[in-house]
Every structure is written in structure tokens, then in C-alpha cells.
């Protein structure tokens, strides 16, 4: 599964990325909602 993670805290973002990848997901990370919407376009 492809997942997008949006969190303003870098440490939390890194940890979530690590966990989801360990569970076998494909993850892309975003620091804010704006960053996410820009990347989606």
C-alpha cells in the first residue's frame, strides 16, 4: 500500500515512516498540508 504521512514534527515523522516501512508499506512524508497538496499536483 502507498501511504502519505503529514506531521509537523520531524522526529514523529521519521518514526512513523520507519514503522510503516517495517510493516511493508510504501511511504511518502510531508511536513505540512501545503507541502502535501503541492506534491500531489
Amino acid at each position: 500500500m502507498k501511504l502519505a504521512v503529514v506531521d509537523d514534527d520531524a522526529d514523529v515523522r521519521t518514526a512513523i515512516n520507519r514503522l510503516l516501512r517495517a510493516l511493508g508499506h510504501e511511504v511518502s512524508l510531508f511536513a505540512s498540508a501545503e507541502e502535501f497538496t503541492v506534491a500531489r499536483r
Partner: protein, 656 residues
Amino acid sequence: MTPMTQPPFEHLGRHLIEASSDCVKLLDLDGRVVYLNAAGIELLDLCGSQDLLGRSWLALWEGEHQAAARQAVNRAKVGQRASFEGFCRTAAGVAKWWDVVVTPITNDSGAIAQLLIVSRDITERRRDADFRAGQHAVLEMIATGASLDAVLTRVVRLVEDHSDGMLCSIVLLDEDGIHLRRGAAPSLPEAYNAAIEGAPIGPRAGSCGTAMYLGRQVIVTDVLVDPVWEAYRALAVAHGFRACWSTPIMSSQKKVLGSFAMYYSQPRAPVPAELRMVDIAANISGIAIEHQQAQEALRHSEERNRAILRAIPDLMFILSADGVYLDYYAQDPSSLLVPPDHFLGKAFSEVLPPAVAGPIADAMAGTLVSGEPERIEFSLEPGHVRQFYEAFVVRCDGDKFLSIVRDITDRKRAEMDAAIQSRELAHLSRVTTLGELSGAIAHELSQPMAAILINAQAARRLLSRDPVDLNELREVLDDIIANDKRAGAVIERLRALLKKGGGTFEPLDLNDVVNDVLALTRSELLARRVSVRTHLPSSALPVLGDRVQLQQVLLNLVLNACESMSVVDVDERLLTVTTGIENGFVSMAVADRGVGIPDDQLTAVFEPFVTFRERGLGLGLAISRSIVIAHGGQIEARNNIDRGATFTCALPLRGA
């Protein structure tokens, strides 16, 4: 005695008539006097009956009195007994009132032959009644508040009207008990009145001055011979006065108030009727003077009260038994906070906030029980500045309340200034501020905790893989340690700020203080959607100070800036923190783009109780200033050219 033409009465009857003290006359049917008794001769000031015999009786009367006499005669002529009261002068010109009875007298054949006139002199009775009516009129004047001058003048006129050829004068004794003052003497020459005004009383000071000095009546029958008049003889003679009787006017406490005098142009002694009249006049005058003195004393006391009122700065309110504002007094109306029509006629519980109204209600209840004034303190916040008051509540006017309110803001502020110097208040303020930040701080703690938890879960997953990626596992453990330290740092900063004490100065880098505070407020700033820009030099900013206290200063400035920007657009919410070194001082500036500060308040914002924040105690900046000053530094506020305000602290550079 002239012989009678035809005496119509018996021997006894004649004696009765001759002995009568009334004036008895007989008229023929033409109205001519045919008989007059001895009393009549005397009463009419005649030499003998021949002065009147044969003359018309009606001609003795004048005007309305003659009409009354004619009517009585006409009725008697038709057989009716008639009477009237009339006024007629005697041969000597003395004014007299008469009670007259006219009776028809028949002859042997039953026809009316003559008229019997019996006239009684009632002048005295009329005068007494008239004088009494005059007294009542004067008393009424006193009761209805006529001026003393008008009352005394009326008394003088009254007595003058009831005695022939006599002039009256009332003089007053000055408050000093020594000098004569004008009372009322409308008939005396002004030159005479002016001459005796201010003269001292004494044992030989004319009739009045002596009567007041001795406190008893002084009768001078001839001023030319009486030693009492020695000094004033020429004056009296110049104005044609020969006799002067004076009676002191006494108060109800037997104090001499003045004197009542009667002047005559001829030497003479008083008759009892005149002495009675002067006693009454002196009495009434005494009542009038005392009444006026009492009024004056009351007026003086009211004036004194008003003067006292004007001199005291307190506010005063009269409240009804159920707490409705009835009246107020304010030396400076602006100290009322609201216009009078906002509270007059309203209950205090409607006008004042519950936190103030409650204690006032308690004070009212308290003073009702104790009868003693109850003291309370309260505060109101009409604008940006909290005002402190102390009020004394006491009963007055029966069931009403008097509340005396004093503005004690200056005193409170001085007390607060002293308290701010103490660490207790700085600590309290820190705790309050951190309380406001608690939501944000919880978030600040929950982030590393979440990272730790997720990393631990990821590590467990990684362990179940084969082969285990040891490098990745090491990274995870490093992150767990880092996040634990991060959480620990938050707790450490919090603990430092929450700790009492402080005041221990140590070498510091001011940039560290800035970073600590921005870390602590990061979540709060995010929640308030405030962006932060920092201009911090890479080199250290060495100061000697108390880390916690300096954090507190910056914390206040940052939170004030956020508050100031809460009403502006999100895009505009920019907080800029700039540090640097200038002229031997380390500076730290916090700029916002908020609403700014009214220009006249740029200094006042550092005073206690001045606040522009919704929930503020109005102590943050006062404490900040106190801290900066304790560090040997300065703090100031100014408005930015475009928008918002900048607070700048300058602290001495360590080692400079």
C-alpha cells in the same frame, strides 16, 4: 348742671344715669342733644354739657360711622332699639371707639318723644384686640421665615400704631456683647440711627445702651436731666427727643439680645398700658432675633459641612434601605467612572459587578447589626487600568446608608511595586503564565513521547525480520534516546520556571535563553498561527543573570506579542526576535505586527495593573521591568513605523 326741660325719668333713674361711667345723652326727634351726663362731659373732653347741648349728634360722626349712627337713629324713631360700634374723636381730638346703644323713649300717650343714647368707650378694648392681631401677624411672619429686618420693622410699626406721638426703635447687641448694631427704627432719623450704631453699651450709654448693659428696663422721663444720657444729650436734643424708655430684649436663656425703645418729644413717664405693650414688643422681638440666630447657626453649620465636603477627595453615596443610589457627592465628577444617571435611581447590585456588590451587601448587613461603619476593599476595571477602592458603609438618616469611597489605587500600586521586587510575585506570575501555556506544553511533551513509542514499535517489527538490520536498529535506538532527552529538556525547563527562588546570577549566553523560550512556546505559537523569525548572531551574547528570570521576561514579551496579534490577519502574525551587542550592552528585541500601544501608554504599560490583554493581571510587564532593572538593564516599548510594537531589553555585556 343745666336744668332738664322735661326729665322723663324718675328720681332714681336720674341718679343712675348721673352715676353711670358711660356717656349718656338724650336727643329730641330732630337729633339735637338735650341732655348729657357728667361721665359724657369727661369722656368727650368737654368743659361742660353746654358745649354739646342743642347740637346735632349725628354731626359728631364722620363717614361710615355717621351712616351707622343715622341708621340706628332711624330705627329708634320707629320704636326699635339699635346699636353699633363707631369711631369718633373727642373735643380734644383724642381718637376713641364707642359702643353705642340707641333706645326710643315714649311719652305718656305712647308716642316716641326722645332718644336715649348710651355710649361706652371701648377704645382700650379695640386697641388690645388690634394689638393682639398685630402680634399674631408678626409671629406668623417669623414662622414663615420673613427676614429679621422685616419682622422687627413690623414690630416697631405695630407699637407706633398703638400709641400716639411715640417713635420706636429696636437696636441689637453685637455678638461681642459690647457694641450696638442696627435693628429696626424706620421712624427715627437716619442720622440718629447712624450716630448710635457701633456705640458701646455701658452704665451711662443712653436708655438703650444702659438697658442692655444692666439687663433691665431703663425709663428716662427727661433726657435733659437724666445722667444716663449725659454723653448723648446733644444728639437727642438735636433730633427733638426728650423722653426715652428702653426695655432689654432677652433670649430664652436670659441673654441680652438687644433693646426696644420708645421715644417722645416731651418729657413723660409711661402708663401701665404702655409698659405692657413694650413688654410684649420686646418679647416678640426676642423670639424673632433668636429664631434668626438659630437659622443663621443652621446655615453656618450647613456651609461648614459643605466646605468640609468640598475639601475631601472621597466619593460619597447615599443609598436607600434597599440599596438604591439616591444621591452622591464627588469633588471630581470624573472619579465616578460613569455618569451619575448611570447609577442614580438604580440598585448597587445592578450597577456593580457581583464580586463588588456582594461585599457591599455584607457591609450593609454588618452595619445594620453593629451600628458601626463597615470597611471593605474592592477593585473595578473601567478601562485598561484596574482601580482599587476602600469603602466605609454606615447608616444615616434613619434607614438609609452612607457609603464613603476612597480611591486607594496609588497605595495599592505602591504595595504592589514592593511586592514585585519580591520573588514570590515573580514566581506566581511565572506559574500563572505557564498555566496559560499548559495546553501547548502538554503538546510539546507528547511529541517526543509519541516518537519514542512509534520508534519502539518499529524496532520490534525490525527484530522479527531475518536477518535483523542492525544498522537500522541502532538508528531507532538513537532516535529513542534523542526524543527522551528532548522530553526531558521540556520538563527541565518547566521545572526551572516553576521552581521558587531564583535570584542566582550566573554567566549566560542570552541566545540560549531565547532558544529555550522559543522551544517552550513553539506549540503555543503554532496554535496561535504566529510565525517566528529570529535574528540571532552566531557568536555568544555573554551576560550575568538569572536564567529563569530572563526566560520569564522573554516569555512575557512573546505572549504579549501573540495576544496583540490575535486580532490581525493570520498572514500578518509575524514575531521577530533579534539579539545583538551594542555599546557594551546585550540587546534583545521582540517585535510584533499587532495593534500597537496607544502613544500615551508607552511608559504606563510597565506600571502595575495596566493591561491590554483580555485575561491579564496587568503584572507581567511590571515584573519584567523589575527583573531587567535588577539585572542593571533597561526595558522600553515603542511602536513600529508601519505596524505593531517592539519591546527592547538591554542588559550589561558581561566582562565589558
